[in-house]
């Protein structure tokens, strides 16, 4: 079970609370987590990654375990704590304040 925290506007789109849980088959990577997230919540398709290139939208970032994983390879394994469900994978808007 993977925990994913979404920003408010994506929660509204997906009709969910702040945290969702998803199942991922195979290696737990950014790609596999986002594939599973979009499969369960199709309305998020295109809102986190580009439809065709699957690149992260430029004003979004991915955090986990107090680290910024935005520039890691989408196919790199996520930390064990994310894979085990201890820590969430966080999708967040790329602005610190304002």
């Amino acid at each position: 079970m993977i925990r994913v925290i979404l920003p408010q506007h994506l929660r509204t789109l997906a009709h969910v609370g702040s945290e969702v849980t998803i199942e991922v088959d195979g290696p737990v990577t950014q790609s596999s987590v986002l594939n599973a997230l979009e499969a369960r919540f199709p309305m998020l398709r295109g809102a986190i990654r580009d439809h065709d290139t699957l690149r992260r939208r430029p004003f979004l970032r991915f955090f986990a375990c107090e680290e910024d994983l935005s520039h890691e390879s989408p196919d790199a394994p996520l930390p064990d704590a994310v894979a085990s469900g201890t820590e969430p994978f966080i999708v967040i808007g790329a602005i610190a304040g304002g």
Binding site: T12, P42, H51
Partner: protein, 390 residues
């Protein structure tokens, strides 16, 4: 007696304002899609319960919303609310606006500095539902292109003939971006569509969108190297009275223009306006020679002239204008009225509506003679459309 439904897009959500035919008391619902930029909402002329909305964000991209019950509930086309979510590939493509790579010649467009720049989709500026088919709707997008959906907004296909016209390398973004902001469907000829792009100009198709031609003869723009060029004019908005579809009125960056031959030729009708810069323009529903504009001070100072919010009306199709001020602030007012933020209803008397960047939505139930604010304190208004309900 019918009623009206006013659809308001703002920088932080959408609002729906409803009234009976007297247009004195209003119900306000919203914000819908709170916190999102709502560039445009428009109802289907063929089914007033069908409304399309463009929801957009620099962070999360483009979302299309649809209501089938007059704005009470909304869903993303292809992802109905409450439907069990099945595993497997995502099926909703309602927010996918992919440029047609087969458009020939496949071009770049001009960037602000004169260099060439690739097309990049940013948002939908304007949604124009078909006059006859509720599931058919057109979308004008930034960077400028025209898309069409024939399945209620679930899937979108570009009409590539427009960018394929070959003048794309001369199109350049205005201050708001390279946007296709105006789409007018000719009620007398289903094959004829007008569009306008800032800053490229106006175009017309007479074959249902397969091929397009620029219709900018008579426009004069000092900010392009050849002021009379075929392409490059910053057209802000175009309006038509459906009962007289060959006559068009245009608010250009500077200059108010009219055409009596479906856009083939234009002449200036700015006349005695205090300034002929502006964004919004519209035509009275029953008097095709009565038109409305809101003059803005200049392209450097995007607010109304002399601190006075004045709608100017011409009953002569231009040239002779009268200020309409009753009920509007006449001092210390520095708002703008954006290009899609004015609309008319078709009741008798004709109602006129506009929204400001200061968050007010004003209504006139007497063709502009007097005005009252329906709401005063919304987020900045991006668009106003009206549905006349029977």
């Amino acid at each position: 007696m019918g009623g009206v439904r006013v659809l308001v897009g703002t920088r932080k959500g959408a609002f729906i304002l409803t009234s009976d035919g007297k247009r004195e008391k209003w119900d306000v619902s919203g914000p819908h899609f709170a916190g999102w930029e709502m560039y445009h909402l428009k109802g289907s002329p063929a089914d007033p319960n069908r409304i399309y909305a463009s929801q957009t964000s620099g962070w999360f991209g483009q979302i299309i919303q649809r209501s089938d019950d007059g704005g009470k509930t909304w869903h993303q086309p292809g992802t109905p609310p409450g439907e069990p979510v099945a595993p497997g590939p995502p099926k909703s493509a309602s927010n996918k606006f992919a440029y047609d790579a087969s458009a020939k010649p496949l071009t770049t467009h001009q960037w602000y500095d004169g260099t060439q720049h690739p097309w990049e989709f940013k948002r939908v500026w304007h949604l124009e539902p078909s006059l006859a088919e509720p599931d058919t709707v057109y979308a004008g997008v930034e960077d400028a292109a025209l898309f069409r959906s024939t399945d209620g907004g679930e899937n979108w296909m570009e009409l590539p003939g427009l960018r394929g016209h070959g003048t794309g390398p001369k199109w350049q973004p205005g201050a708001g971006g390279l946007c296709l902001h105006t789409i007018i469907l000719d009620p007398s000829n289903p094959k004829r569509i007008y569009i306008a792009i800032s800053a490229a100009g106006a175009f017309r198709t007479d074959d249902g969108g397969v091929s397009w031609k620029p219709i900018n003869r008579g426009l004069h723009s000092q900010y392009i190297p050849d002021p009379h060029a075929e392409i490059g004019h910053c057209v802000h908005h175009v309006a038509m009275n459906p009962k007289r579809p060959n006559v068009l009125f245009m608010q250009k960056h500077w200059d108010v223009m009219r055409s009596d031959d479906a856009g083939d030729n234009w002449k200036e009708v700015s006349g005695n306006l205090p300034t002929d810069f502006g964004f919004a323009i519209d035509v009275h529903a029953h008097e095709p020679e009565t038109i409305y504009v809101v003059p803005i001070k200049s392209d450097s100072e995007h607010f109304v002239h002399e601190g006075k919010l004045r709608v100017f009306r011409s009953r002569a199709g231009g040239n002779e204008w009268e200020p309409l001020t009753k009920g509007l602030p006449q001092k210390d007012c520095y708002v703008n009225v954006l290009r899609d933020a004015m609309a008319v209803d078709s009741l008798d008397k004709c109602g006129v509506y506009f929204g400001t960047t200061g968050g007010q939505v004003y209504a006139s139930a007497d063709a502009g003679d007097s005005w009252t604010p329906i709401v005063r304190d919304l987020p900045g208004v991006l668009s106003v459309e009206v549905q006349t309900l029977v």
